[in-house]
């Protein structure tokens, strides 16, 4: 798992809109974002960067090697 937790969510849905693989969904009861499909996370860090209150933590152990085009 790469996306670890959401602490201090304000329910603005910015992370939900930014996630390209729909990992995060809004919990209708708590009105806060929650990690529903962690196995789909591509570690793009978009949710973390778009979160206005820095509530999302992504596992520091996981990393994606930078793809360099040589062609």
């Amino acid at each position: 798992m790469s996306i670890v937790s959401i602490n201090g969510c304000i329910g603005c849905e910015e992370c939900i809109k930014s996630c390209p693989t729909d990992v995060i969904r809004l919990n209708r009861d708590t009105k806060k974002a929650e990690i529903l499909y962690p196995e789909d996370c591509q570690i793009c860090h978009l949710c973390r960067m778009y979160c206005p209150v820095d509530a999302i933590t992504i596992s520091p152990e996981k990393s994606i090697p930078v793809i360099v085009s040589w062609g």
Binding site: N7, E14, P52, P60
Partner: protein
Amino acid sequence: MGLIMNKESKIYKLLPLILVFVGVPLLLWALGEFPKRSVFKELLSLIIILTFSLLLGQFFLTRTNKILVKQIKMSSVLKIHKFIGYVFIIIIMAHPFFIILPKFFDNTKTPFEAFTILLTSFNSLGIVLGMVAYMIMLIILITSFFRFKLHLQYRTWRKVHGYLAMLFIITATSHVINIGRYNSTSFSIYYLIVVASGIFYLLRIYLFKSTKKVIKND
């Protein structure tokens, strides 16, 4: 030398309060299983946690704390109360800005955009509670600073101050429990115990002491 000794003995007498309102939150933060972040972000969070718990401690740093007033002078108790009040209310007023501070180092959302989202998330109960608490805190700060310009009797002002403080602490604690980053069961229990005892402490003086006086007068 005598002055240093006097200061040291005052700190020693304040030790139980320091332990409850600085030691316990520090311990809960250190032992809690919160996701690790950069030192800068952790430091900002820690400042806010300690500031909030010190403001909770204000309920016990008043003239109603007879034990403390006996140990150190009442004027000293009030000086500490005023110092903590003014300094830490200003720090806690800055905490929404602390939250968006890391956005200066990101390149997705500007701090202004992040702040706008923060202030317009009205669907979040935590945010609404935070705004209400912020307004009450502002009123407390202004009415304390301009106390003599209000032309209120001291007892009236003290009651207004106390009831505003109670309102603030209820809304602020609900805000912290609802959307606090470091909201855990242990932190919530700690806050609830402190808030309940603080309110009880104040109401005991406001309600029951005055009742006794009425009975005496009768």
